[in-house]
């Protein structure tokens, strides 16, 4: 059987160009973060879900997390001259996501604090940084990122530039400036940190006090951010399904081509980029789902623990309200978890 309708099997040039651009981005090489110094007994939670003690010389790659306890500290080297300092009581994770046709490394701490020092000379491959709630772009920067137990984030810039975007608002920070971002909300007003000593423990204790003043409102912030992740994951999942339909159709079309050489060319030059696009959509819906899981685990879980243990003997009305809303949020999360997550993610 010959080719009956060439346009049927060939996407428009524009779409194909976009897909090719997207697929070529997948070939960008990511850099590893290598442990150069550590204190205590920090853990390495690997992508496949196993946990081991972290040791000197070990490398973290996408999907891996470093988990520190109260007396642990880890310093890693990233690229040629950038350093990452993971402070005590922190969960630090490296992931990858495709944005605008470019594969990006995202470093985030869903709990605790991380200090980054990116050498400007490391160039265009500076990763995005943030918490499980918000991600920021950096340029030649020394910045500390604090994650609050109730899902809020604090960015403190020592040098360079940081752009923090959340809930449709962007705040640009330069030297000695900081901004706080509530979970699910836009960044607040930036402020100067000159003469102010900020440490994670005090800041987090303050965030806990704020949380306990109105736990249900804090819950709504995390719920809003989880909803955003759910929307993003669902959108990328739909993209995946759409891309797969086009890709599968192209794959089926391969068998319709009589000429061996033309068939092979169609497979390699038309179907393969479509398959690449489909694969990227999978990686992206997984990115959003895994980010949601981090927020659910380290912010929502922490909030539940604080409320449950303080109310175990005499549950207050506020606690009952919190518990009911919490159950709704967890139900909403779980209703989608099976689609996007795997057992090894837990």
């Amino acid at each position: 059987m010959g080719i009956t309708n060439r346009s049927h099997r060939t996407p428009s040039a524009l779409v194909l160009a976009a897909l090719l651009m997207s697929w070529s981005a997948a070939t960008a090489l990511a850099q590893d973060a290598t442990v150069v110094y550590l204190e205590g007994e920090p853990e390495l939670r690997e992508a496949q879900g196993t946990t081991n003690w972290l040791d000197f010389g070990m490398s973290l790659r996408a999907g891996d997390s470093v988990v520190t306890g109260g007396r642990d500290f880890v310093e890693m080297e990233y690229g040629d001259a950038s350093t990452i300092e993971v402070q005590p009581d922190t969960v630090f994770t490296i992931r990858e996501v495709e944005r605008g046709g470019e594969r990006r490394t995202v470093m985030s701490n869903s709990a605790g604090a991380v200090k980054y020092r990116f050498n400007r000379l490391t160039g265009r491959h500076e990763p995005d940084i943030g918490t499980s709630s918000v991600v920021a772009g950096v340029r030649g920067t020394e910045v500390a990122v604090y994650a609050g137990g109730e899902g809020s984030s604090l960015f403190v810039v020592e040098s360079g530039e940081v752009e923090v975007t959340a809930a449709g608002r962007t705040v640009s920070l330069t030297q000695d400036e900081a901004v706080e971002v509530p979970a699910g909300g836009p960044p607040g007003e930036k402020y100067s940190v000159i003469g102010r000593e900020i440490n994670h423990s005090d800041w987090n204790a303050n965030r806990l006090d704020v949380f306990l003043e109105d736990p249900v409102e804090a819950l709504e912030g995390v719920a809003a951010r989880l909803e955003e992740y759910a929307v993003d994951a669902a959108e990328w999942y739909r993209n995946y399904l759409d891309a797969k339909e086009v890709s599968d159709a192209a794959f089926a079309q391969i068998g319709e081509i009589d000429d061996d050489e033309e068939r092979q060319e169609y497979r390699n030059e038309t179907w393969r980029p479509l398959a690449g696009q489909t694969g990227n959509a999978v990686l992206n819906y997984r990115y959003h789902a895994l980010s949601a899981l981090s927020l659910r685990r380290h912010a929502l879980g922490s909030m539940y623990m604080e409320m449950k243990t303080r109310n175990i003997l005499n549950p207050s009305d506020e606690y009952k309200e919190f518990r009911d809303r919490f159950a709704e949020i967890v139900d909403a999360f779980d209703s989608q978890a099976d689609r996007y997550l795997e057992d090894t993610d837990i």
Binding site: A47, R61, A62, A243, I254, Q264, R267, N268, P273, L283
Partner: protein, 142 residues
């Protein structure tokens, strides 16, 4: 004389038995585990059978995107179900030519890990898969 011949033949027999015993012992202790080419065969067998959950066990967990690839990912990259390896060459990397239906795909597999010895099995894992069929290489997994 006959006694001497008998004693020599017993010694020779013992030597032969000793060699056989050592050979058997070495064979029993020889390294196990899958070779890189075995892993490539297992990979396409699982792709063909749709048993994607097996694949993770022989991927390098340190590879980027290890925890982001899933069944949806593999079905998007290998949508057919009649993959047949037509040629395998090299030990690391391994170049595989594969037919699916009436077309051919060429893939390069790179590995981490090492060959085993009499004490340990080999521990090879796939760290990178590149499709090399087209005008430019496409990285499937790394």
């Amino acid at each position: 004389m006959s006694m001497k011949r008998t004693s020599i033949s017993i010694v020779a027999l013992l030597k032969v038995l000793g060699v056989v015993a050592v050979a058997l012992a070495l064979a029993a202790c020889s390294p196990g585990g899958d070779s890189p080419q075995d892993l490539v065969k297992a990979f396409f067998r699982d792709i063909d059978n749709g048993t994607y959950s097996n694949i993770k066990s022989y991927l390098d967990s340190g590879a980027d995107n290890y925890n982001q690839v899933n069944d949806d990912y593999w079905t998007s990259q290998f949508p057919g179900n009649s993959y047949e390896i037509t040629s395998l060459s090299g030990s690391d990397p391994v170049d595989a030519e594969v037919t699916e239906g009436s077309t051919t795909g060429s893939y390069r597999f790179e590995f981490s890990g090492s060959e085993g010895n009499i004490f340990n099995d080999s521990d090879y894992k796939i760290k990178k898969i590149t499709e090399t069929s087209g005008s430019s290489d496409s990285i499937i997994f790394q």
